[in-house]
């Protein structure tokens, strides 16, 4: 884990496809391993990343395979932050505000945002000049 004054960053840009979401997940896992982030943190932040990226591929770009996803990862001694930027259709306003309930057990879809909310401590979302920015922060346990 980086010490109090250190900050580690990593970026990766991929095509907006489900196959390339795997590349983002692999990069995030490698980052978590390199900086010895706790396994539980690595698991949760990967769940949040994959659900967020899948949402962008499906709803932002309509599964067309067009467009791209930019991931930025950052960690210091207190938290790990994963940001995703895209130029697809933005999420409806207020989608990330308030707790989204987990759908009933027989639903085959609709769990993504509830999983994201359960896995990270803070989610910010904004659209500016056609660029959608999603930022997810997971607090690290105190050593």
């Amino acid at each position: 884990m980086p010490s109090a004054n250190e900050r580690a960053v990593r970026s990766l840009k991929v095509a907006a496809t489900y196959e390339d979401v795997r590349l983002l997940a692999a990069e995030l896992q490698a980052f978590c391993a390199e900086f010895a982030l706790p396994a539980e943190v690595a698991t949760d932040i990967e769940f949040a990343l994959v659900e967020a990226a899948n949402n962008i591929v499906q709803h932002g770009y309509g599964e067309t395979g067009e467009g791209s996803l930019d991931m930025h990862i950052e960690t210091d001694a207190t938290s790990v932050t994963v940001s995703l930027c895209d130029r697809g259709i933005p999420m409806p306003q207020g989608m990330m505000k308030g707790d989204v309930e987990m759908p009933s057990f027989d639903m085959e879809s609709g769990r993504g945002i509830a999983i994201m909310q359960a896995c990270v401590d803070r989610i910010d979302y904004e659209t500016r000049d056609g660029l959608n920015s999603l930022r997810m922060v997971k607090t690290l346990p105190k050593a």
Binding site: T43, E46, F47, V50, M102
Partner: protein
């Protein structure tokens, strides 16, 4: 008492059951699962990661089964178990450490 051959074990030969893998997996379900299969064990022992799309595919399997059917999940690792717990699907599926434990439980 159901015999061993009444239990269908569905092996998942993939490292990730995610949105990229789900279409092929669901096509496989349509080919391999018939409506009269009452007892199914899904073997996750080779799966390192599952996402909500993968879970949705498992839910679709449950909906293909008869009402009195039982769907058990075996071989989850700490990560895949975590997602079942987060989504509360651990209350819907019977979860076992491995296929043999599930087979014994479903045979009772």
């Amino acid at each position: 008492m159901p015999q061993d051959h009444d239990i269908f074990v569905l092996r998942l030969p993939m490292e990730r059951l995610d949105a990229a893998a789900a279409p092929e997996f669901k096509a496989r379900l349509s080919e391999e699962i018939s409506e009269d299969m009452r007892l199914i064990i899904v073997d996750f022992s080779e799966v390192a990661f599952v996402d909500s799309t993968g879970l949705g595919a498992i839910v679709s399997l449950l909906k293909m089964m008869p009402r009195d059917g039982k769907l058990a999940v075996a071989g989850l690792n700490s990560s895949t178990l975590r997602l079942f717990q987060l989504t509360r699907l651990d209350r819907v599926f019977e979860i076992f450490d491995d296929v043999e434990e599930a087979r014994v439980a479903l045979s009772k």
